[in-house]
Symmetry: C3
Subunit: 296 residues, 3 copies
Amino acid sequence: MRLLRSLLFAPANRLDLLRKFPRLDADAYVIDLEDGTPAAERERARGSLSEIVAELRAARLAAALFVRVNAARSADAARDFAAALDLPIDGIVVPKLAERADVRAAEAAIARAEDRTGRRLGAIALIETAIGVTNVDRLAAYWRARLVALAFGAEDFVTDIGGRRRADSREVLYARSRVVLSARANGIAALDQVFPWIQDSDGFATDAQFARDLGYAGKMCITPKQVELANDAFSPSVDEIERSRRLIRAYDDAKHAGRGTIELEGALVDEPMLRRAHAIVAWAGEAKPSSGAASS
Amino acid sequence: MRLLRSLLFAPANRLDLLRKFPRLDADAYVIDLEDGTPAAERERARGSLSEIVAELRAARLAAALFVRVNAARSADAARDFAAALDLPIDGIVVPKLAERADVRAAEAAIARAEDRTGRRLGAIALIETAIGVTNVDRLAAYWRARLVALAFGAEDFVTDIGGRRRADSREVLYARSRVVLSARANGIAALDQVFPWIQDSDGFATDAQFARDLGYAGKMCITPKQVELANDAFSPSVDEIERSRRLIRAYDDAKHAGRGTIELEGALVDEPMLRRAHAIVAWAGEAKPSSGAASS
Amino acid sequence: MRLLRSLLFAPANRLDLLRKFPRLDADAYVIDLEDGTPAAERERARGSLSEIVAELRAARLAAALFVRVNAARSADAARDFAAALDLPIDGIVVPKLAERADVRAAEAAIARAEDRTGRRLGAIALIETAIGVTNVDRLAAYWRARLVALAFGAEDFVTDIGGRRRADSREVLYARSRVVLSARANGIAALDQVFPWIQDSDGFATDAQFARDLGYAGKMCITPKQVELANDAFSPSVDEIERSRRLIRAYDDAKHAGRGTIELEGALVDEPMLRRAHAIVAWAGEAKPSSGAASS
C-alpha cells in the first residue's frame, strides 16, 4: 500500500490553490466539489475540472489525485460523477457514507467509468455521521475491494450527533477508535480527522501523534503547513528507528540463547513488540524519517 | 422535539418532594416507582399515584410528566403499568432495558392503555446494563417509534459490569458514547447519567458540559439545584450565540465572494461548522440563553 | 467463580521460572508455548510439558494451571493440543481468537481430550487483533459455555492495528472497554492487558486500578512482583470495605424509615450503589483485603 500520511484538500473552484499541488509534498491530493465549494459555484467548478486535472498531470503531479464528490445519492453526486470519473484521476472521496445504498450508487458509477476508460479507480470513504459510524463495520466489509482508505470526519460527525468539538477530541474518541478498527479489520488504511485550527502547529502535531497511536496511517489536511506536519508525525522518527534496531538486535541475541522474552529499557519485550520494531525499520526504508521536532 | 435538558426524578412515596414539581424549572419530571422507592413502599405508592398526578396537573405542571416503572418483565412492572398507564401522564421511563422481550412487554402494556384512554404515551428507555449496552442499536431501532429518549445510567451499568465509578467517568466513556450514538442514529434524544455528588455543582457542570459535547440533549437530575445547572449547561451561552452569529455572517460574505471556506478566529470554517452555528442560533430562539456561569 | 486477580505467565522452555510457581501467590498460572517461547524451542518445550506439570502438581500448586497454546488454526496449535490437553491442567489459553473457526478448532480438540481423560477443561480467550475485537460479541456468545475468561491483549492489538502503545493506554480505551463489556454481558470474567514496564510498580497499580474501574476481574502478569500488585489492586481495600459497611447500615436505616435514597458522604445513594456495597462486603469474605498501599 502506498503511503497516505497526508491527504490535502482544496476547493474545486479555487484554481489558485489547486495549481500549487505539484509544488507540495502531500502523499495524495483532493479536488473538493463538496463542502469546500459553495453550491452556487459547483457547476462552474465541474466545468473546469477536466482542464485543471490535465494541467496538474502535465505539471507531473507525482502523488495520487482524488476528487471529492457530493454525498452518494444526492443530485449533485450524479453531476460530480459525470464530471470526474472519466478524467485521469486515481479515485474519488465519497463523503457521508452511511448505508449500503450509498456504496451501491457510488460503485455503479465507478464501475461504469472503469469500463469506459479502462482505468482503475480507488475510493476513500468518509465516515462522518451517526448512521455511518453505526454501520461502519458492514460498510467497510461490503466495499473493501474498492476502498483505499476509510476516513473519519469529526466536524461533520459532531454536527450530526448534535455535540460540540473539543480541543482534546475526547468527545469523538469512541467514533474515531471505531473507524480505525473497522478499517484495519478489513485491511484498509485509515485517515484521521481534519484539525481545523490552522495556526496551531503544536495542536496539530499532538492530534496527529495520537492518531498514529490509534493506528491511523495519516491525516486529512487543509493547508500546506499541515501536510508537512502530517508527513512528519506519520513517519518513524530517527529515535524510533534506532530504538527499533536496538530491540531487534537484543531480541535476536536472546533467541539464539533460547529466550523468547527479554528486558530492554524497562520493558519486557516479546513477539508483538518485535513485530512493531520490524515494521518501523521496514517503513524507514520507504519514508524519509521525520526530524521528530513535531513529536509531542 | 421538546427540550429535554433536565429530567428530575423524585421517589413515588415522597409526596413532599413530588409536590414541589410545579414550582421548579425542569423540562420533564419523573415519579419514581423503581429504585428510589423501597420495595416495601411500592404498593402504597402505587395507591397514591392517581391522586398525586391529578394534584400536579391541577397545579398546572407545564412540563412533561413521566412515571418510572420497574424493569419491564418483573412482577412489579405489571403492577406499575396497571397503576400508571391510564393516568394523564406523558409516558413512562423503563429501566434496565436489555432485550427485545423487554420492549415487547412494555409496548404491549402501553398500546393497550392508549386504546383504552385515547391518549398518546411516550417512553424513555434506560440503558444501564452490560446486555443493554451490547444490544443498544437493535433496541433503539426496534422501539424508535415510541421512544422520546434513550438515557444512559452509569450507576447501574457500573454495578452490573462489576466496576467502580470514577469522578472523571472515564470508565464509562465507551458505554456513554455508544448510547448517545445509537440514540442519534435513530433520531432520538439522549439523556446523560445521574451525577450522584449532589453538593458538587462544579463537578455537575463539568460532567454536563462534556455530555453536551458528546451529543446528549440533557441530564437526569436528582435535586432542584441540578435542574438549574442542567438547564444552563444544555442551553447555548450568550457567548456561543454571538460567536455563531459572527460565523454565519462571515461565511455568508465569503459565499457571495465564491468561497466555501473561511478562516475565522483561528479555525478554517466550512459547512459542518456553519450548520452547528445555525443550530445554536435557532435553538437560542427556543431556550433562554444560559448565563454561561456554569460552563467549564 | 474463582478469583482471577492475577494470571502469571512464564515461557514453557523456562523450567527455572515455572518451578517457582508453587511459591507464588497468583490466582492462576500459565505455561506459555506461544510468544514467550521461541519457535525453535517449542518442540523441546512440548516434550518437557508432561514432566513439569507433574512436578508442579506434586509440589501441590493450589491455583489453577493453564497452558497457552499457539493460535487456534496454526500448525503449532495442533502439536500444542496434543502435548497439553491430556495433562492434569485446568485449561488452555487461546491467543488471537478472531473467528468462529478458531473457536471450533479449539473446542473440537478440547472436547476430544475431555472424552479421553474424563477431566473438564476451561478456556481463556485472548482478544488481541482488530478482527478479534470486531467479532468479540459473537465469539463470547458462541463460546461462553467453555470460557473461564476473556482477556484483552493490548500489545498484540496495537501491533495488529498498526498503532503505538502509550503509557496512559488511551489508544486502547475503546477496545479494552469493549472486551470487558462483551465478557460481562456473557457472564464471563475479564482479564486486563499485560503491563510491560516491569520496573514501574506505580504505573502497574494505576493501570490495574483503572482496569478494576472498567469491570476487569484481574490482570495478566509477567513477574512475581506484578502478581502481588494485581492481587492488591483487584481486592477491596480496608477503606472500601468500611465505606461499604457504613453505606449498607445507613441505607438499611433509611429503608426502615420508608426512604429509598439517602445522602451519604456527599453522594445521593440508591439501589445500584447499595448492590455495589454488598458485592464489596461479600467479596471481602473471600479475598484478603488489600493494604491499599498500591492504590492510586
